[in-house]
Symmetry: C2
Subunit: 127 residues, 2 copies
DNA sequence: CGGTATCCTCAAAGATACTG
DNA sequence: CAGTATCTTTGAGGATACCG
């Protein structure tokens, strides 16, 4: 029984291999600011200042850095309007929207299990 | 119409607030090694050396550090058998298993969208 | 308003060597 | 085998100030 490798194997991206590009994607998705910024954009387009206000604690530098990385990866679009004062709107691309369910589930997990993890930590630290 | 806040509000963990503990959970889940190590343990219990072999590129130090953090958070159990040579088996707890679908979806996303992201990058870098 | 530019710190992470 | 100990580096990330 000969298997059609070309069909069943695909290019075979494997994040468990250190040199695979998909490893970088795990890193990007895993980035704390990526998760939070993309989470905000999941609710619809938003301006720079709105994102900054929504994601508490992020510095201008990290926000712009995160946004730029997301834009480079084709996950977010940036539209600047030549007005005074300037207005810049960020929005998820179709590709970026495929990330929504993933990131939202990370967020939901964090919310739901914070109590359990926190008490596990106390127990661990006590011993 | 008076709302029962105690019922509908829950403790209200919000990762978007910088001081909320759930922010740390987003960070932990987002950690590259956490994703990969937990991914391995999703297939069942595994020994230290097995995990090391599966997760390409991880150093002994980071593996033990990651494992310890997961144990502290109540996501993984560690069982050491007093044998020669020593055998130590790590396993996901029930709480840790709630993380499986989340992490697996991150991994799946990375695999599936690596080509699209990679070509977006090339396009971006070209301009 | 929407960013850059700059400086600075600290800790995450790699490499290596060694031990219970 | 399963780690720990130690040393070192580098760059992520915060704070601040300023520019188009």
């Amino acid at each position: 029984m000969i298997r059609e490798d070309a069909v069943s194997e695909e290019p075979d991206f494997d994040p468990y291999h250190p040199d695979c590009p998909s490893r970088q994607l795990v890193d990007r998705v895993g980035d704390r600011w990526t998760i939070l910024v993309t989470g905000v954009l999941s609710d619809g387009p938003a301006r720079y200042g709105e994102i900054a206000a929504s994601v508490g604690g992020i510095s201008p530098k990290m926000l712009s850095h995160t946004l730029k990385a997301l834009e480079r990866d084709g996950l977010v679009t940036r539209k600047a309007y030549a007005e005074v004062p300037p207005r810049v709107v960020y929005e998820l691309t179709d590709l970026g929207r495929t990330l929504r369910p993933v990131l939202l589930s990370v967020e939901a997990w964090a919310r739901e299990n914070a109590p359990a993890v926190l008490s596990a930590r106390e127990r661990y630290d006590a011993s």
